[in-house]
């Protein structure tokens, strides 16, 4: 096999190609798109924008990757984001001093605590009661936004708080804080899963839960843990999202993000059947999806055709990645149809 053939067979080859094509198309349309400039001591430009906008989806997809690796799925992440925003912003709004760092930190701690409970609840349904993950997390997917509405009293809670606003709009060392936060957690999860045995134990549980349990792996604890982590990452994503608009919008916060997250994981090459997972793959998947959304506006696709264009790109990437299609393409190149032969009697 030649080097090129090996390269095209790599799981992430086509997603990365798609990423570059989108970047190229945007740059051809607007020559300044790819440029990164320094303004007021911060980095500005298309690529930086992609990083900043990727942060929310990356956090959600990070948790989703771990959950999917255990054969599970978490549909409640969008609702969890809404709850996180509702809890945190309500507390900030009710406090006498919304602008103080302590208030913001305490409110975020409350948000994290609430999401921890949610994660424990999801994990309990799946790991202990053995409810199918898609059903177990559907409970909060539908009920979660209602809970968020109750917290905000049916209103869109808005606040003015400089420290909280900095989460999504601030810069540190010239880079967007949101991207730094997402990058930090990405690195932590990558290190923890690969430098400890957590990664391989998650994969082992995902590939064969029964055998893993008999091998002495605490399968139940591991499954429980990934749902808790997933809820916590969704919570942080909820902070970023609500900080972005400085409002808790229970109806729209993180709407349909679970689908984008699942898509990012799948584009990244982690199978929905569980087992082997790739965090790098998820990162690429997230970048493809964000770049796609951004480049649609840059290229100037008519608003009406946006969904269709997005669907087309996703279909093409998924098709090129599919083992069946790859096999067919290779087989077509290699050999002709079978020839019947006569065998002397």
């Amino acid at each position: 096999m030649t080097g090129l053939a090996q390269l095209t067979r790599h799981r992430l080859f086509w997603p990365i190609v798609a990423l570059f094509v989108l970047l190229l198309a945007s740059t051809l349309k607007h020559h300044t798109f790819i440029e990164v400039t320094i303004r007021d001591g911060h980095l500005y430009g298309g690529p930086i924008d992609i990083l900043r906008r990727s942060s929310i989806l990356l956090l959600v997809a990070l948790g989703m990757t771990l959950v999917i690796a255990t054969r599970g799925i978490d549909l409640s992440v969008g609702a969890v984001m809404a709850i996180a925003g509702a809890v945190t912003l309500s507390q900030i709004a009710d406090s006498p001093d919304p602008g103080s760092l302590t208030t913001v930190a305490l409110a975020m701690a409350t948000g994290l605590a609430v999401c921890l409970v949610i994660g424990v609840f999801n994990g309990f349904l799946v790991a202990v009661l053995g409810i199918q993950p898609i059903i177990a997390t559907l409970v909060l997917m539908t009920a979660g936004r209602g809970i968020a509405m109750l917290i905000t009293g049916g209103q869109i809670t808005t606040v003015t708080s400089a420290p909280y606003k900095a989460l999504a709009s601030g810069f540190w060392l010239g880079l967007p804080i949101a991207a730094l936060i997402a990058g930090f957690f990405f690195a932590v999860v990558a290190v923890v899963t690969r430098r400890t045995a957590l990664g391989v134990l998650i994969e082992s549980v995902g590939i064969n839960p029964v055998a893993s349990r008999l091998a002495g792996v605490r399968a139940r604890t591991i499954i429980w843990t990934v749902y808790v982590l997933c809820a916590l990452f969704a919570c942080i994503a909820g902070f970023l999202q609500s900080s972005n608009i400085m409002a808790a919008d229970s109806n729209n916060a993180g709407l349909f993000i679970e689908l984008d997250a699942i898509l990012a994981v799948v584009i990244g090459g982690t199978s929905l059947a569980g087992g082997k997972f790739s965090l790098t793959g998820t990162l690429v998947g997230v970048l493809v999806i964000t770049t796609l959304t951004l480049s649609i506006t840059v290229i100037g696709i008519p608003v009406n055709a946006v969904s269709l264009f997005k669907a087309l790109v996703v279909i093409v990437v998924c098709l090129l990645q599919s083992p069946v299609v790859q096999h067919k393409l290779r087989a077509r190149r290699r050999k002709a149809a079978p020839v019947p032969v006569e065998v002397p009697a």
């Binding site: 045995a197 590939i207 792996v217 591991i222």
Partner: protein, 510 residues
């Protein structure tokens, strides 16, 4: 038996298949004649399964030709092979448990009227196919309500529906008792008379000699030869399979004198009235250090259930377990593991091997589970352990990065053994460790178990083959109908007949 001049229905020439890092088949020729029972022989990893999978379209071949019924075939998948008349009945029956017998037999071939399935006619047809194999069961009954033996016959009926000219039976007898085997053989003979070519794989030499007309021997992915069964004595056959003299086997035969086990101290594990409702009645069992306790009994007698309670795979709802004299509660496998008790399940694929992980990861898994996720087994130590056991147990291929699911059954078994031995257990529970694996590997595993015991490890050994239990065990617990009915100290006077009598009488004669 038809004469040799008949045109082969299947002719495979120069078949080669390579997996990453493994040359599974290397230029193998294979012929199958209509109306014969042809045995495919070889050790684990010899390439039997791979050859079968090439013939059934599961694997594509890298080079060589497959001619079925005079037409060269390039199978795109199992469906293409079936369309060419090649049907397979696998060791683990590939049917749908929750459908009825009729649905299973006729799946995809239901009789339709005006595009709608005519269930009455479909069931009638199914009954016809079943009766052709002397199988008188209600086609409406759920498949799962029947024994594994009947399910296997149902699978064969299914092959007849698609009008198979070639029927492949891969280890069909490994879970059957003697009567069931006899029944299966009757069916095979009927099919042979009808001119069906039957490819038969089994590790039971007796069965090979009872049923097969010719046999092909493979070793390490290459063809050793094709022989008429009646012209090849057993000893020569085994010699051709393992490619060396039978020193291992003969060694085991002579080493039947057992070391005397000191039963005066504290047993390593002591079960007092331990039981679980619906699973096994309360039993007592003492296992001393260095002792091999064999569990004898028929399939479904409670052997596995007893073993699972000892490990903590299931938790007991009565009685008390003591480990080294101390009362313990074994609530889950982890609890057993932390008491240095390990359990190797009889179902390698579903309860043992983690298929998509590498051999290395599979071996280290037990050790890792014991340490918890935070304390990763250091790479250097993992490499040492993995190297050591791959060498000691002769895992083939000796490649720690091979995907465990691609290994042959016997080698997967060795990987599992390695996983447990790496945790330095004090009590090793082996449930059917030699099922479905070849003579050579079987002998190696038996020898290993005997050695481990002589070094002070306690072993619980479960096997459907009584002579294997008798050869190894110091003591034998006999089970029947989910109850421990007798326990006897092994000696020269204890023969298979004695144990069979005990099983049959339910222990009353003891």
């Amino acid at each position: 038996m038809t004469e040799q001049s008949t045109t082969p229905i299947v002719e495979m020439t120069g078949i080669s298949i390579t997996f990453p890092g493994v040359k599974a088949l290397d230029g193998v020729d294979f012929r199958l004649l209509p109306g014969e029972v042809h045995a495919l022989m070889g050790e684990n990893g010899a390439g039997k399964s791979t050859l079968i999978k090439a013939l059934t379209g599961v694997y594509g071949i890298d080079s060589g030709r497959i001619v079925v019924g005079g037409v060269e075939q390039v199978f795109s998948g199992p469906a293409a092979a079936q369309a060419a008349g090649v049907s397979t009945v696998y060791q683990e029956v590939n049917l749908t448990d929750n459908l009825s017998v009729a649905e299973n037999v006729m799946l995809g071939h239901e009789i339709r009227r005006f595009g709608i399935i005519d269930w009455h006619a479909t069931r009638k047809a199914a009954r016809g196919y079943l009766q052709a194999l002397n199988l008188d069961i209600d086609p409406r009954s759920s498949l799962s309500s029947h024994s594994l033996a009947v399910q296997q016959l149902v699978a064969i009926s299914r092959a007849m529906v698609v009008d198979a000219r070639v029927l492949i039976l891969d280890e069909p007898t490994s879970s059957l008792d003697n009567d069931e085997v006899a029944r299966l053989f009757d069916v095979i003979r009927t099919l042979r008379e009808r001119g069906v070519a039957i490819l038969f794989v089994s590790h039971f030499l007796d069965q090979i000699y009872a049923i097969s007309d010719r046999l092909t021997v493979l070793r390490n992915g290459t063809l050793v030869g094709e022989y008429r069964t009646e012209e090849l004595p057993r000893v020569e056959l085994v010699g051709k399979m393992i490619g060396r003299e039978l020193e291992v086997l003969s060694e085991l035969e002579t080493s039947s004198e057992r070391a005397v086990v000191d039963r005066t101290g504290t047993p390593y594990l002591q079960a007092i009235g331990v039981g679980r409702k619906g699973s096994i009645e309360p039993f007592d069992l003492d296992i001393f250090p260095g002792e091999i306790v064999g569990l004898a009994g028929l399939l479904g007698s409670g052997r596995t259930e007893l073993a699972r309670l000892l490990y903590g795979a299931d938790h007991a709802d009565s009685g008390e377990t003591r480990v080294a004299g101390e009362p313990v509660r074994l609530r889950n496998p982890r609890a057993g593991l932390s008491r240095s008790i390990v359990f190797s399940s009889e179902s390698r694929k579903t309860e043992g091997i983690i298929g998509d992980l590498t051999v290395r990861e599979n071996i280290v898994l037990g050790l890792q589970a014991e340490r918890g996720w935070l304390r990763r087994v250091p790479t250097k130590k993992a490499d040492e352990v993995v190297d050591q056991y791959i060498k000691a147990l002769g895992v083939r291929p000796a490649n720690p990065d091979a995907i465990a699911g691609n290994l042959s059954g016997g080698n997967q078994q060795k990987v599992l053994l390695a996983r447990w031995l790496a945790t330095a257990p004090k009590l090793l529970i082996l449930d059917e460790p030699t099922r479905g694996i070849d003579v050579g590997a079987k002998a190696e595993i038996q020898k290993l178990v005997a050695e481990l015991a002589s070094q002070g490890m306690s072993v619980v050994f479960i096997s459907a083959e009584l002579d294997e239990v008798l050869r190894l065990s110091h003591r034998i617990a006999v089970l029947r109908d989910r109850r421990k009915v007798a326990e006897l100290v092994n000696s020269q006077d204890v023969t298979t007949d004695v144990v069979v009598d005990l099983i049959a009488s339910g222990g009353t004669s003891a």
